[in-house]
Amino acid sequence: MISIEPVAAPGAPLARRNPVAKVAAALVFSFILLATLDPVAPAIAIALELALLPLFGIRYRVLARRALPLLLSAAGILVTLVLFAADRSGRVLLDAGPVLVTTGVLLTALGLVLRVFAVALPGVIVFATTDPTDLADALVQNAKAPARFAIGALAAFRLVPLLGQEWQMISMARRARGVDAGRNPVAKLRLFTSTAFALLVGAIRRGTRLAVAMDARGFDAGTPRTVARRQSFTRADALLIAGSIVLAGAALTASVLAGTFRPLIG
């Protein structure tokens, strides 16, 4: 089942920080790291991320499960690079027609895989510890996002687990009415498409009714909204963002000092 529930212990010192601050910190951290292609900076960054994990109240097992798709993309990177690497310098390890594996290729691959992990993990960590309601509140109160849009998106997010159930219901309804695909892959694809279409139609209808229900409770009345849940952006939140800049910068600096730094552009 799809779940958008946060998975962290809510009391953890960094998980408690303002959601906007957390997202900003993750984005800044990731973007600074994108600037280099070497393996050293991302490796340091990953070490830092893992070291900070307990402060976010996430257990390593949980993170591993959430980060599972990353392994898949790591495999993809490896294969793609073996086939399409730009730089094939270094000692030849394997030469089989188009597949030419050299130490240079492996080093690049290592850099890229580490980079994917280093860049993605902050986001995984932050979103695993952030409740969508708090994020919307903080976006409105601390980041001056337009309230109608943030709340509207939040209301739609609430439908996510419901749409997952809806998918099951639609599939069952089709079966009950005599529609199935059997083992034929083409029929399967067709059934998938028509189920997805039905889900989309159902979702839009739901959205339409939800909008009516929201208006019924004065959502669009034009009265300035007040907030029930106050989100505050404190010094600690600013420090979190600053800290992430410092740490990412430190990782880059270490890589420059080690002489491995390879800028993205240039």
Binding site: G178, D215, G218
Partner: protein
């Protein structure tokens, strides 16, 4: 505050030739408690939406005027609170307390006042959980109560309720009615739509009956209206108290076994259950909200794979598939043998028009086109949907949608019919027609399983009743 004045009001939904409601002249004073009646499709829900200012100009055509305290309802929304029939689509936030607070935030209520008002509204409706309770984890009845709290927290002058107890178990329905009774202030105007008149009467002091063709058929104190028009209203489909329905007990003993369950369950939704359905018998399944009745219906219908135990179909029912349990049958074979009617009618629909919806099953099971046309025409006629043959199933009224969903399962004439809440939201006439339809099927040797909260339905039709209990941990 909360006076309503309608003058020659009418509304036609975009895309429809017929007016959903028309020629309504009505005046409701502050503090009156009105029960709005009328057969299915008479336009009751449409009228409530109009009063709540929720019929946008771009979605249809209006005639006459509506005023709430002298204002256009689209502008006077802060006076009105509405609870729709389907609670799931009206919850906005993920946490229960936030959902009640949502309306207060929109009205600009100062932050310090919000939470006391939320707590008070939750207390008045008897909401059993804390403010942090996840709204997705609430049962239908709890959602209904939360939606009511969301409307009450706004302290509306006019409260509009559209079948607030449909789909609730009897205990839950009583609780919601008590909540409404306890939550109304002396000057709150109430307009309630509810087919089951007897249950709603303690809440109201006036009855207004809509005429399907347009206009108001009867208006006044309940006793007076029912004394003067009782018999005709009952014939037209209003559940007039004291007009009993015709029971349809079985005419012959039950026949051979069709389907048997052995410790059938799907944890945590349904604990192990034993059950047997015979040909020529109508079996009622009852139990509180969340007991797993719908889950059981889906398991019996071969739509879900059992978590524990098994379903065995008799050789007669299973035909060529007698070695496999129903959930492994191919869909066309299944549809010809076991018909399923889902609890939410909209879950049943897979095509774009009422006609195609009815034709789908027969076509899939391989009937020739001429026979399909005959079957469809017969069902449309019988369930009074002929006029709507080209309509999109999603634009039907609550009762019309329910009838269509039952008809889709009947179209393939399955040996076993499994219906989840087939009679909720039905007027008296349709209700009786459904009972007759199921009784005819049973008497012709089909098996019928009906999951239901409707005690009248059980009395009128069921030969046997199975009651499920809620699992102790509340399944969650």
């Amino acid at each position: 505050m909360g006076g309503v004045l309608l003058r020659g009001f009418g509304w036609r939904h975009a895309g429809r030739r017929a007016w959903a409601v028309r020629g309504v002249d009505l005046r409701v004073e502050d503090g009156e408690r009105v029960l709005l009646l009328g057969p299915s499709g008479a336009g009751k829900s449409t009228l409530l939406s109009a009063l709540a200012g929720l019929l946008p100009e771009d979605s249809g055509e209006q005639e006459g005027t509506v005023e709430i305290d002298g204002l256009d309802p689209r502008k006077g929304r802060e006076r009105v609170g509405i609870v729709f029939q389907d609670p799931e689509t009206q919850l906005v936030m993920a946490r229960s307390g936030d959902d009640v607070a949502f309306g207060l935030e929109n009205r600009g209520v100062p932050t310090d006042e919000i939470w006391p008002r939320v707590d008070e509204a939750l207390r008045r409706v008897g909401f059993p959980y804390s403010r942090d309770r996840d709204t997705a984890a609430l049962s239908g009845g709890e959602q209904q109560r939360l939606a009511l709290a969301g409307a009450l927290a706004l302290r509306p002058g006019l409260l509009l309720l559209d079948e607030p107890t449909a789909n609730l178990d009897p205990a839950g329905a009583t609780l919601v009615r008590q909540a409404v009774a306890g939550a109304l202030d002396a000057d709150t105007t109430l307009i309630l739509v509810e087919h089951r008149v007897a249950e709603a009467l303690p809440l109201v002091d006036r009855v207004v009956v809509l005429e399907p063709g347009g206009g108001v058929r009867a208006d006044g104190p309940p006793e007076a209206v029912f004394a003067a028009h009782g018999a005709t209203l009952a014939a037209e489909g209003v559940w007039v108290p004291g007009h009993p329905v015709t029971p349809r007990p079985a005419t012959a003993a039950a026949g051979d076994l069709l389907l048997a369950d052995d410790r059938l369950g799907l944890p945590p939704r349904l604990g192990p259950t034993d059950l047997a359905v015979r040909a020529g018998e109508a079996l009622a399944v009852r139990g509180p909200n969340g007991a797993g009745k719908s889950t059981l219906a889906l398991l019996l219908g071969g739509l879900l794979r059992p978590g524990t135990g098994r379903v065995t179909a008799s050789a007669e029912l299973a035909g060529s598939d007698h070695r496999a349990p129903p959930h492994r049958w191919r869909a066309p074979a299944l549809a010809g043998r076991i018909g399923s009617v889902f609890q939410d009618p909209e879950h049943q629909f897979v095509t774009g028009t009422v006609f195609d919806e009815l034709a789908l099953g027969p076509r899939r099971t391989g009937q020739p086109e001429a026979a399909v046309k005959d079957t469809v025409a017969g069902l449309l006629e019988r369930l009074r949907l002929t006029r709507l043959a080209a309509a999109n199933p999603y634009t039907l009224s609550g009762g019309e949608a329910r009838r269509l969903s039952v008809a889709t399962a009947l179209a393939t004439a399955p040996r076993l019919l499994i219906c989840d809440e087939p009679t909720f939201g039905q007027d008296r006439r349709t209700w009786q027609e459904l009972v007759d339809l199921f009784a005819d099927l049973r008497d012709a040797g089909h098996g019928v399983v009906a999951v239901t909260h409707d005690a009248d339905f059980v009395t009128a039709l069921a030969d046997r009743t199975v009651t499920l209990k809620r699992t102790p941990d509340g399944s969650r």
